[in-house]
Amino acid sequence: MKILIIEDEQDLLELILRYLKKEGYVCEVATTFMEGYKKINNYEYDCAIIDLNLPGGDGLKLVNILREDSTQTGILIISARDTLDDRITGLDIGADDYLTKPFNLSELNARIKAVMRRKTNQFSKELNFGDLIINLDEHKVTACGNTLQLTKKEYNILLYLARNKARVVTKDSIAEHLWGDYMDGAVSYDFIYAHVKNLRKKLADNGCGNFLKTIYGIGYKFQIN
């Protein structure tokens, strides 16, 4: 899968690039409006990650041009502008998702996968990890053939970890994924701890005990044996 990243902040660009390359995507970058414009016109991408404040122009124009060209490309805006109006304008002119800076890389990764699933058939409707199958259309989880009774939050945590499989996902990024900016500090960590505990028990009861690994002090990892 080919992804275009248009972002002028060099450090952030480098970071996104490293993270996404590990995920196995083919990545191309642009750091200015004109560079982005040329790449959009000359090549085709499965997904574009576009920053709004670019030297040389407004990223929203690129979104507009890209959307007129192709309906198949997934478009994800990343921006420091965080008002509801910005969000609505971004989605109105054809972006598929809008992520406010600063964000966690695991959040970006999960959002790209969600956008691509909606856009194309490249991502199937289920995530299959052998014994454990997550059905994305029905929000159903099957462990060793048994359907699990999960709460909405438990399902969301499991899906988020699974989308970032084999990676360490921080507690902080889980909290933000579930709550936005609503909560802070140890209260949210308690909450995540309790949910993961329940989730793990439900998985273990159905013979899938070792998918979730705790990384002490940091977070969790979804691992496939």
Binding site: Y182, A186, F191, I218
Partner: protein, 324 residues
Amino acid sequence: MKRLKRLYFIPVLISLLAAFLLIWKLAPAAFYSKALLIALIPLILLVIGFRYITYQRIQIIRNQLYQIFHALEEFDADEPTKVEFEDSPFPIFNELNEYLVELIDRIRTDFQAHKQFTQNASHELQTPLAIIKGHVEILLQSPNIGEKEVESLAIVLQNANRLSKINSALILLSKIEHQRFVDTEQVNFVAVADEVLGNFHDLIQIHNLEIRKEYSEIFEVNMSRTLAEILIANLVQNAIRHNVSEGFIEITIDSGSFSISNPGEILDIKPEALFKRFLRKSDAEESLGLGLSIVKRICEQSGLEVSYNHTKGQHSLHIHKNTN
């Protein structure tokens, strides 16, 4: 002023009359008395003229003072309009005016610089923090990383997270202070409270807290809905954080106020100090110490008043409309 006028005139008139009668009676010849009378007329004119000039001067001084009062009353450090005074015939007033203009300008530039600093500092910190966090995330993924290194990274991450939380709280505070939330509507506190409690449902369950709702009437306030949500979310979060195990949260709403209480030990700090920034008990490390100052700012901005007390082993925060 009217009183002064009478006080001024009556003794003058009486003494003039007395002098006139005295001369009339005592003078031997009509010539002297007539001459004296003629001499008195310019004197009277002089007194009246002098009085008139004094009155005019007082009037000018008074106007000048009112002008200064008015300018100081209207003064808003956030408004860019320049303060100007009319020229005065009295040099002392011109000096005072010059000094005031200078002072006001200085206050204004200081205020703008301060505002700019808070905004820029918070915004400029966001990106470097995100980059630190991102690189820690990447380091954590490398397969041959040891336990000791993970421990260190966990600490780096914790502190970076803390910094970015403080930062977003400060950005929120500065947004409230600079009135970025201007869309107001009639906000029903019952509805907002129920919505927030719904959001915190899991958390309340995990902490085994009982929710007691005492809604007698609807409390409506004309304010920004977003701010109302942030306000109540902060209060509920506080009530969860500073609760006892198996405790409760009681929310009381009537037509004029909103209160939230929870059991907890009495604090050894003054209630008014609670709303200051970065104040916290040492054992509640996870708290940012900004929650209640955000609450206070929102209240001030929305015509509400907030107060705290501790009775019968319960912390209570009350919010009611500002009566002024």
